[in-house]
């Protein structure tokens, strides 16, 4: 894992997050939460294909994924690939409440699941938890 200096001059391991969301304003909101949690956004993809090629280059620690994307692959398939080939943690955000989608998501054992509309703080908290688990957040933050 690479490191960079934070503002206080101590080395913090980087925590790299890929955002996959085709609605640009909601993507902006997701990016805001990632930054609020002190993580780094390695890219924003609006299609599954773009997400997979970004991930091949940058190997994200975590991906925030919308489920419904324009055309296949959808967010769940993207998540499955990211999880198996890069070991990325997965956080799904979806507006869909249907049980079939829900059970496909559950089968991947994601790190988090947020039903839209979610509170920004919920996503920030999830990413902070993920950072603690990866050991990229040193010490306690609360």
């Amino acid at each position: 894992m690479t490191s960079l200096m934070d503002g206080r001059g101590t080395a913090q391991p980087r925590f790299r997050v890929l955002v996959v969301e085709d609605d640009v304003l909601i993507a902006d909101l997701l990016v805001m939460a990632v930054k609020d949690a002190g993580a780094e956004v390695i890219g924003v993809a609006d299609t599954g294909a773009a997400a997979l090629s970004l991930a091949d280059m940058a190997r994200p620690d975590l991906a925030v994924l919308d489920v419904k994307l324009a055309g296949p692959p959808d967010g769940i398939i993207v998540g499955q690939v990211l999880s198996t080939s890069h070991g990325s943690l997965l956080v799904f955000v979806t507006g869909s409440g249907d049980p079939a989608t829900r059970s496909r998501i559950d089968a991947l054992r994601p790190f988090g699941f947020l039903q839209k509309p979610f509170r920004l703080q919920q996503l920030v908290d999830l990413i902070l938890d993920a950072r603690r688990r990866q050991g990229s957040l040193l010490g306690s933050c609360t």
């Binding site: 902006d28 805001m32 507006g95 249907d98 979610f118 919920q122």
Partner: protein, 343 residues
Amino acid sequence: MNDATLVHGLIIDDDPDTRRLVRRALESAFPGIRVGEITDEASFSAALQRGAPDFVITDLDLHWADGLIVYMRVRDRFPFCAVVMFTATGDQDKAVEAMKTGLDDYVVKRRDHQYTRLIASLRVAMERRQQKRALEVTNDNLLAAVEEKNVLLDELYHRLSNTLQLIIALNTLAGERVGDPACRSVLQGINDRIHALAALQERLYRTKDLSKVEFGSHLQALAESMVQTQRPRISLSVEAERVDLPVSTAIPLTLLANEFIANAVKHAFPENRAGTISVVFRRESGALVLRVADDGVGFDRRPPSDSMGMHLARRLSAQIKAALEFPQAAAGTTVALRIPFAS
């Protein structure tokens, strides 16, 4: 069955005399009838490939196949085709067994009146299969309509959730660009109200009953999401009775609960100090009572009465004919809402 419609049937029997006599009886009973005679596997398979017959008359004892298997193959391929067995005396037991698996009837070959009985049995069987088919079609149509409704509802719900998230994104992004903390707080307040309504919406969708909603667990989840995610140092106690409410009450009551809880979260514990918020929702002598109490800094910190929160509280409690009360408390602030409720 109307005799004027053209009937199409099959006779499966090894004996040419039987086939001839049955055909004669059928032709006089059903003018214009088309009858096919099956004498071996080849003619049987060919008949199965053609369209569904209205009826099949079959013997059990066949030189080329087991009559029961022949019956099963017809039943399997043409569920609405009437099948009547026309059998020798010794085969009665087998025929009775076949009745249990959907054979319409059997007629024993005897000397007298056997063809009259066969025709009568056939008429009843065809009538019944027709009704069954009509019922099945109606049923399929109903199932398709329900399925379509569910798909539309899912789609609508998905759109709604996304749109609410979009509105929240717009407010949040706007908040990022205004420096004025009061302005940002107003935008945040609007987002909180949208969240409260969206949570109610999700509960309605999940219970699949769009007219009423169980309010107690909704209130509990709402309070937890408002207090625990935003202010972990405030401890929350919720005592919420499970009560089904019509949506027309649940919506304003959701907004009211949101105002009361948000008010306590924002104003009762300044400088991130610790404390307790307690939320009670229960039946009390002909009324529903919602009470939100805190042990924070007290009454004088309440916002002026022209604030948005107070304005909403007054207007919405009037809408549901509820009495809004601020009982004196030893510490902090208590707000109570008394809603007339006939249980």
